[in-house]
């Protein structure tokens, strides 16, 4: 299945910080066919560094989508049954307007003049896209990590527009530990002299800072066990220690490789803005009451967490489930066993596929 990225444009998007953005572009892909009743549309929400290319083989790059193991004919999100949509988030750097986009008023990239955005803003942009596609109500919204936050935001803010929500490996509000890791990433970028207060688009970008940010991120996505399995204490192309600070261990090599790969596809300022939106995310709007946050939600929920995920640990999913249960919402939950840490929702998908498939099938039967 070869897929292409499309772009929609919206004149003005109002933002939570009180300002608005004009001429907002949104990159998106779709898979499968929208049925006549327009009742089979599912919006996939990508994680922090994801993009609109969730499935199929990209026409542009020849690469498979980031959730190609979950989306496609006969897969959990079955494209023979459902119409799948995935868009790049506001603030991103993969086709949707973000800090690296040209500000039409100045003719220059926004850089740090880009407004600070929130998860709510990202979701508001997604509602515009759904309007644009002529869809009144989504069968489901689904995503892991930051995508899961957006799934929750959809269910709470647009209760009449989503029949089901599938938040995976996520939280209802960013915790101090999650904020802390994001802050380390931001500081690594901003400490790089090449960052230059965000004005690097016509010079050398802060690749060292961004690579370090990504290295930290990768550590949080894995687990102690998966790192031991994958790398052990193996040395990289040497028999004994080098007694210097070149690469000794496999794990060092892996992190450096991941860091260097990342800088070629991701914008450092987008890193700052998107992590900030994650950190601001609090479904309770600072009230602390998840119950009142969910009081308007009408969707049925499938909440999934993974046993070895220490970045978004199961207790955070269970807190969501508990509140939903208390208010008699329709909620299914399971913690899936996996050694892959937070990355599990992307890589360890056999059991995840089964529960998602069953949940979607019954939702489609009951609520489409």
């Amino acid at each position: 299945m070869t897929v292409e990225t499309h772009t929609a444009q919206f004149e003005s998007i109002s933002l939570e910080n009180g300002t608005s953005l004009s001429s907002v572009l949104v990159a998106y892909q779709t898979y499968g066919e929208l049925n006549a009743a327009k009742s089979n549309a599912i919006l996939i929400l990508h994680a922090f560094s994801g993009d609109a290319h969730a499935a199929g083989i990209s026409h542009e790059t020849g690469k498979p989508g980031w959730w190609d193991n979950m989306i496609g004919p006969g897969k959990a999100f079955d494209t023979e049954k459902y119409f799948m949509i995935c868009s790049n988030v506001l603030g991103g750097c993969q086709g949707t307007t973000g800090p690296s986009s040209i500000n039409s008023e100045t003719g220059c990239p926004y850089a740090m003049s880009f407004p600070v955005i929130t998860m709510g803003d990202m979701v508001r942009v997604q509602t515009k896209l759904i309007d644009f596609l002529g869809i009144e109500r989504l069968l489901a919204v689904a995503g892991g990590s930051m995508g899961g936050m957006q799934a929750l935001e959809w269910a709470v803010t647009y209760p009449d527009r989503v029949a089901a929500a599938v938040p995976i490996a996520t939280t209802a509000r960013h915790t101090p530990q999650q904020i802390a890791f994001n802050e380390v990433g931001r500081q690594a970028i901003m400490a790089d002299p090449d960052w230059n207060d965000g004005n690097y688009y016509s010079s050398r970008p802060p690749n060292r800072g961004l690579a370090i940010a990504r290295m930290v991120g990768h550590i949080t996505y894995m687990s102690d066990e998966s790192m031991r399995e994958k790398f052990g204490r193996r040395l990289r192309e040497k028999e004994k220690f080098g007694f210097d600070f070149s690469v000794d261990f496999e794990v060092e090599s892996y992190l450096r490789y991941r860091g260097s790969q990342f800088v070629s596809r991701f914008d450092a300022n987008s890193y700052l803005y998107i992590t900030k939106a994650e950190d601001y995310f609090d479904l309770t709007n600072g009230t602390g009451s998840l119950a009142s946050a969910f009081s308007k939600a009408k969707a049925r929920f499938l909440v999934i967490s993974f046993s070895s995920d220490w970045l978004y640990p199961s207790y955070q999913s269970q807190e969501i489930v508990r509140v939903l249960r208390r208010s008699n919402h329709d909620v299914a939950y399971c913690e899936l066993p996996s050694n892959y840490g937070h990355d599990a929702f992307l890589v360890d998908v056999a059991e995840q596929s089964e529960v998602v498939r069953g949940f979607l099938a019954s939702t489609y039967k009951e609520r489409a």
């Binding site: 249960r325 208390r326 329709d330 299914a332 939950y333 399971c334 899936l336 949940f359 039967k365």
Partner: protein, 209 residues
């Protein structure tokens, strides 16, 4: 003891699922009601109730693997411990709260029963009768912890931590002031009407406060 009640047997659910207690529960539950199944296993009963009686079905299951399979069937189940999760529900949130073959496994059966009748308008409790003659004879003649065919566990790895009989349940219901609306007794696939405390292998009670 409340009189055993004969009902018109609809074989479908029991035969489909291979369990007589399910057949009875399938008969008891009114269409389009709200049902919570505690210890729902892989969700077979809830799926049947949802598809055939239009019930709004929820399940709790302590085994992660079983909860996953229940969700994969399309049942809104979640992994949790019955002894802990019941307190989360609001009063009278369900028409029926079902506890099938699990009462004897809970740490605090009385608290679970009281909670079931707080959370649900009615409770359906199915349990193995440890007063069955084979259990009595087994203990008498072997001098060892009985292993009734329905629960063939060794004493040291049995999930059953509270043994009860039909008479025990009746006595508790009287003491707690529960009203037994209906009760059914089963041996194999047969219904028992006489001497249930001796002849029944399983009992199914429909109770309310």
């Amino acid at each position: 003891m409340a009189a055993a009640e004969q009902i018109v047997r609809k074989p479908f659910v029991g035969e489909l699922l291979g369990r007589e207690d399910f057949a009875i529960i399938g008969d008891i539950v009114e269409p389009n009601s709200k049902v919570l199944d505690l210890g729902c296993g892989e969700g077979e009963l809830l799926q049947w109730l949802a598809e055939n009686k239009g019930v709004e079905a929820r399940g709790v299951e302590i085994s992660a693997t079983k909860a996953q399979r229940a969700i994969a069937r399309g049942v809104s189940a979640y992994q949790g411990d019955i002894d802990e999760v019941l307190e989360d529900y609001s009063d009278q949130a369900f028409d029926y709260v079902i506890l099938s073959q699990t009462l004897q496994e809970t740490r605090n059966p009385l608290r679970v029963l009281r909670e079931m009748l707080r959370v649900g308008r009615r409770a359906i409790v199915a349990f193995p009768n440890f007063g069955h003659w084979s259990v009595r004879l087994s203990l008498l003649f072997t001098g060892k912890a009985p292993k009734p065919p329905l629960f063939p566990y060794e004493w040291y790895d049995s999930p059953n931590i509270h043994f009860l009989t039909v008479d025990d349940f009746d006595q508790l219901a009287r003491k707690e002031g529960f009203t037994v609306e209906r009760c059914y007794f089963i041996a194999g696939r047969r219904r028992i009407t006489l001497l249930p405390n001796v002849l029944a292998e399983e009992a199914v009670y429909l109770v309310r406060k």
